[in-house]
């Protein structure tokens, strides 16, 4: 019974998302949803390695970029359709993960974090300089995506956002299902045992190297799927977008803000962060403040906000992370869970609020 409720909610949410494009015509809403899906996928993938297994990789942009570059190079230069290229991307990501894993997993804790950053930077610098393969800093621009045909019928020509929406949705449902399955399986127990105490886990018959690499491979496969989807959807990639340190940090932040080690944490994190960064970037917040009459557009403050708020999204991100770490160490989700668990108990214990009866 306990399990059936969240599952029912999940199915309901998936169904609602599945029919959404039938009712919403706004391409902006669909665009936002696709970005949220991509962020949920990368967040959930990172969560399997960082949240379950406790290996805080701050280099996940490497897998995102490797996926994106493989798919895009195959499509643009070799004329391989992206729905094949995506799987080639996951293959390259698996190889990348095993190479990175075999090097970085010799290190623990903060040293692993530093190594993961360094390796991701190596990939960025390579992509920047291997101009024959990647076009270097110019990036790869998609000129046209071949229409998806089954037999003689055309399924989609990829002109509207709807096919991308469904691709993103299905990848997202897949990674959430995989997260849930892993969590309940032997793998999940072993991942968490390694997170809690690697030496104790080792002495209980768990080979940490094998299981850490397993977690990394699962994580890398889905991160590369998200990267490929991003590349084909946006139609342009370059090293400073798909292989950037910013991206690696953002992937971690989705989980920190939502709640590390939980299935719904990355979903909550992405659903909060994507609209927030979009609102900051598009100056929507300043406009709203002006509209509400809180800030005069002509005043110094209004001018300052208009000028600078759009560039301040990284700053605001940073402040948000500090606030979350200080006041909600288990993420937004953990905070509300604790809050709802505490409230009835406090009422039960005499029902007296502090300060009352003095």
């Amino acid at each position: 019974m306990k399990r059936s409720l969240p599952v029912a909610l999940l199915v309901l949410a998936a169904a609602a998302l599945a029919v959404l494009p039938k009712f919403v015509e706004s391409t902006y809403v669909l665009h936002m949803m696709i970005l949220i899906f991509i962020n949920v996928i990368v967040g959930s993938s990172w969560n399997i390695l960082g949240g379950y297994t406790g290996q805080y990789s701050v280099g996940h942009a490497a897998y995102f970029g490797v996926g994106a570059y493989t798919t895009m190079i195959l499509m643009q230069f070799k004329h391989v359709a992206p729905w094949w290229g995506v799987w080639a991307g996951t293959g390259v990501a698996v190889i990348t993960a095993l190479v990175i894993g075999s090097i970085c997993f010799r290190l623990r804790g903060p040293y692993f974090v530093l190594a993961s950053i360094a390796v991701a930077e190596i990939f960025r610098v390579c992509a920047l300089n291997l101009k024959d393969l990647t076009n270097g800093a110019e990036g790869i621009l998609v000129t046209d995506i071949p229409p998806l045909m089954i037999g003689k019928t055309q399924i989609t020509d990829w002109v509207s956002k709807v096919p991308f929406y469904y691709t993103g949705l299905s990848f997202m449902v897949l990674i959430i299902a995989v997260s849930a399955l892993v969590r309940r399986s032997k793998l999940g127990y072993y991942f968490q045992a390694i997170r809690e105490d690697q030496d104790a886990a080792h002495s209980l018959g768990i080979n940490p190297t094998i299981y850490k690499n397993t977690a990394l491979v699962i994580s890398a496969v889905f991160t590369s799927l998200a990267g490929s989807l991003y590349g084909v959807y946006v139609g342009f990639i370059d090293p400073s977008t798909v292989l950037a340190l910013d991206l690696s940090v953002q992937i971690v932040m989705i989980c920190i803000i939502g709640g590390i080690g939980t299935i719904s944490g990355p979903v909550v994190g992405a659903a909060l962060l994507v609209p927030l960064s979009e609102a900051l970037r598009s100056n929507a917040i300043t406009d709203a403040l002006i509209k509400a009459g809180l800030v005069n557009a002509e005043s110094k403050v209004g001018g300052f906000l208009k000028e600078n708020l759009a560039h301040a999204h990284v700053l605001i991100y940073g402040i948000l992370v500090v606030v979350v770490i200080l006041f909600m160490p288990e993420g937004v989700l953990g905070f509300f869970r604790k809050f709802s668990a505490l409230a009835p108990r406090q009422r039960g214990e005499g029902g007296r609020r502090p300060g009352e009866g003095r």
Partner: protein, 259 residues
Amino acid sequence: MTAESRPSSGASRHLLPASGAKALLQIRHVSKFFGGLAANSDVSFDVNEAEIVGLIGPNGAGKTTLFNCIVGYYPPSKGEVIFDGRRMNGLQPDKICKLGMARTWQKVRPLTNLSVLDNVVVGALRRTNSVQEARAHAHEQLRVVGLDAKASLLAGALPIGERKKLEVARVLATRPKMLLLDEVMGGLNPAESEEIIQLILDIRKKGITQMVIEHDMKAIMRMSDRIVVLSSGEKLAEGAPKEIVENPQVVEAYLGAEE
């Protein structure tokens, strides 16, 4: 040098309480050096099946180092560890656990953010791939140590006495042939120690061999079939508890020489 102090497998065989017992663990001339420091030098003895062997010695005698060499936490610098007829030098701890030897830690290492049950499930998954089966087996082991009522608590919330029991339940769940218990009674009150002694004797009834490091002399004398004394990394004596308390060298190591 007395006969007891000489590392000789033949000598220890003569001390067997039951006839026909087989040596499950053979430690052959094991030495461990950290730089120039010999934490263990040329230690040899056997542990027979279903036996409880106490490992005692003053602080810094090399007891935990010897444990670590046996379970593969680090390899011995010299010598051999043979378990169940198989040479174990160079094997990783997970392999050694698979072969049927499990250890507890002197400083307990619970998986703090997992429930008490899940801690034991991790051990139980050593022998099965089914989480459901592992949970059933874990509940069984928690009943053995008397922690079943606390199965759903977080392991980090347990007091020290119960953490020690959890460690035992967790290694029992791996279905070992042999347990190495490193000071499972350290920091416990007399009532809790008594429970652990009973637990260790119960485990022996299941046919599981045990090697126990302990500082509580009364407890170790009561539980052990044989005792091995280490001092400054070397084996000082080996024998039945009664022989050990009467051994002048052991008394000297613990209390200092008479002037």
